[in-house]
């Protein structure tokens, strides 16, 4: 009974996800596509919980549904005047449909042909106790595959510099993003004051819990970024400008600590990014805290966009 209901739940969820995705792709109107994409992110987070991947569900909820959604909404708010321009290709793009269909069919075929590998089960089970943290996903991210994670934190920085390169020459010294305003004492401003303290708590909790429970630097950092964004959007705080020393420091803190810890590992423990056993947990927590700061600041800046002067359409 329970198993059948579970299956029905999965089927219903996937049907909704597919319907929403179809609406994202095929519906006319950019705003509709954006709203459906946000809905898609919500449903995907639920799907990840069903797949016993709470760590991923957290990332999807915070990043997929949250930050990406705000990013797209803000951009759409800017582009309304250009929306009269063409939205989808005219007529039915058969070649695109063929390509998409073939890709989906190929992946579907591969699913049933794919053997279940034995690796890396045994190695993983043997190594996890030595990784320093109880959350296996955190162990992979910050110990076994730390080089990936280090590069990834730098990818965020590269994207941010890229976004900044799109500023207009005259706006370079302005605060980041468009100037936001709200009625003082209004609902939005109030919102911007109430939500951040709660969010701060949640974000810090996620980082702290991440060592042994689902959570971690990326999830926590995203929530913290969201908190900052709410405060900025509600006009409660004003974003800094490029080159403000404290903020530039915050941007590079995480990758820098990570790199230096890696080098320290090379000097002290005999290998780049090697965390000496027994010292692994404090090292991971230190790196995570530094990473969280950088991730939060970088993500918030990414969503805010390049600096822009007042009144520039």
């Amino acid at each position: 009974m329970t198993a059948a209901l579970g299956l029905a739940l999965d089927a219903a969820l996937c049907a909704l996800i597919l319907g929403v995705a179809l609406a994202v792709v095929a519906g006319r109107g950019v705003f509709r596509a954006v709203v459906f994409f946000i809905v898609y992110g919500l449903l995907a987070a639920v799907a990840w919980v069903r797949l016993d991947a709470v760590n991923v569900a957290l990332a999807e909820a915070a990043i997929g549904a949250g930050l990406t959604g705000v990013l797209l909404l803000a951009a759409h708010g800017r582009l309304r005047r250009a929306e009269a321009a063409q939205d989808l290709a005219h007529g039915m793009p058969w070649s695109a449909a063929l390509a998409g269909g073939a890709l989906a069919a190929a992946l579907g075929w591969a699913w049933f042909e794919m053997p279940i590998p034995v690796e890396p089960g045994p190695e993983l089970a043997e190594a996890l106790p030595r990784a320093g943290v109880g959350n296996p996903v955190t162990a992979v991210l910050l110990n076994f595959r730390a080089w990936d994670t280090l590069l990834e934190s730098i990818v965020l920085l590269a994207a941010l510099i890229g976004v900044w390169m799109l500023a207009r020459e005259g706006d370079w010294r302005e605060p980041l993003g468009r100037p936001q305003h709200a009625r003082p004492g209004g609902v939005m401003a109030g919102f911007g004051r109430v939500l951040p303290p709660v969010g701060l708590l949640v974000g810090v909790w996620l980082v702290w819990a991440g060592a042994d429970h689902p959570g971690g630097a990326f999830q926590g950092g995203t929530v913290l970024a969201a908190v900052g964004l709410v405060a900025v959007l509600a006009g409660v705080i004003r974003p800094p400008w490029i080159g403000a020393p404290l903020w530039q420091g915050a941007l590079v803190l995480g990758p820098a600590v990570f790199l230096l810890a890696g080098i320290a590992g090379a000097v002290l423990a005999g290998g780049f990014l090697t965390l000496p056993e027994g010292f692994a947990k404090p090292a991971i927590v230190t790196i995570e805290v530094a990473l969280t700061v950088s991730i939060a600041v970088t993500l918030a800046f990414l969503v805010l966009g390049p600096p822009e002067a007042e009144g520039a359409g």
């Binding site: 609902v187 939005m188 109030g190 919102f191 109430v194 939500l195 709660v198």
Partner: protein, 94 residues
């Protein structure tokens, strides 16, 4: 006993969600849909949260459930007001 409470409250929650959706589909204009909606879905969430709270294994879980509901309430309330305002402005401007 706890199971009975869970059964009752989650069922109530489901009813409210269904009612909210019906309202969302059937009500004729944006404003009445808005009003129907904000009440129904938050009540629905509230009842479901309450129902599940009876199954919780620790107070920390109950506290988290409460936090979720407060957050949803806060967001829904503020947003309903702002959206109504925005819709009003748009209608006035058009």
């Amino acid at each position: 006993m706890a199971d009975l409470a869970t059964l009752l409250f989650t069922a109530l929650g489901l009813v409210f969600f269904a009612a909210g959706t019906v309202g969302l589909i059937r009500f004729p204009d944006t404003f009445s849909r808005l009003h129907a909606l904000t009440k129904a879905d938050n009540l629905g969430l509230g009842f479901i949260a309450l129902g599940v709270a009876f199954q919780a294994e620790s107070w920390a879980q109950v506290a988290r459930i409460a936090l979720i509901w407060v957050l949803a309430l806060l967001a829904a309330g503020a947003v309903a007001q702002l959206v109504a305002r925005a819709a009003l402005m748009r209608r006035g401007g058009a």
